[in-house]
Amino acid sequence: MKFGVVMFPGSNCDHDTFHVLRDIIGRDTVFLWHKNHDLQDVDVVVLPGGFSYGDYLRSGAIARFSPLMQEVRAFAKNGGHVLGICNGFQILLELGLLPGAMLRNKNLKFLCQFVHIRIENDRTDFTRAGKKGQILKIPIAHFDGNYYAPNEVINDIRGNGQVVFRYCDADGRLTDEANVNGSMDSIAGLMSAKGNVMGLMPHPERASEALLGSEDGQIIFRSLIEAIENKGRKSRCP
């Protein structure tokens, strides 16, 4: 299978993500330039972290108009797998592939630190290599990660099993302190109703090598491989 990592002007986790997918996870990986229309037959599109277009206007607001993103939108509509990490998550929200929006972190600070997140749904193509309730240690690095959606949307995504990860403490408890950016319902990762698009604020590519303090991020990439290479080991959500 093949991963594609999209490069926007201002992306800065593109090479880290590429490195992990090709060298650690060991799958074909290509870069996809945002001005092209060619998705190069990839199985998974990854929108990496960074500051596409300098976060001008709103985080992710300009990147969604890139030529390649029109292809990504069509790819997702056809059931293709799309993973948005940090700024990639923000782009997916702006694009409307995922519901809701990001507000500035509750403490108005740029947060760059390890956090714990809990797998809320393991019957997804992004978490099937993990277990429900499993706690992952993965770093965040963002200014606008305070997830917001109207209450009726929150109710829908909860009911549909679309909440994939929540911020928690080291013991898996959902507390105000653990919800560092103030996200509604402690949401750290969210997928589409069809389950083929997911965004999360933490950076799994920064937690995929023991040398860097955690390998927990690999679960997400390995889940995608399981989902695509051995289709249907676990039935998908909800």
Binding site: R58, A61, A101, L103, R104, L108, Y148
Partner: protein, 82 residues
């Protein structure tokens, strides 16, 4: 023609930056400030477009690009005629 678009958070959305501004003003003694909301201002200079078209297209632009309708609202006005 020049138009000005004011984008701000919906009333239902918390505005921590506005709250911080209010708190700073309180610290300075301006205790009468009950609430502060922060927003963005855009000024667009339009060329070769009638007022009628502008009244149709400016809201479209504001809705599609300048504001995120999930969290933000906008108002706009013509600030300079041709």
């Amino acid at each position: 023609m020049k138009v000005r678009i004011l984008v701000s958070f919906k009333d239902s959305v918390l505005d921590p930056q506005g709250q911080t501004v209010r708190n700073a003003l309180h610290t300075l003694g301006y205790r009468f400030i009950k609430e502060a909301r922060q927003g963005k201002v855009f000024e667009l200079e339009l060329d070769k477009i009638s007022e009628e078209e502008a009244r149709k297209l400016v809201p479209e632009i504001a809705h599609k690009v300048l504001a995120n309708p999930i969290i933000e609202k906008y108002t706009w006005q013509i600030i300079q005629d041709d």
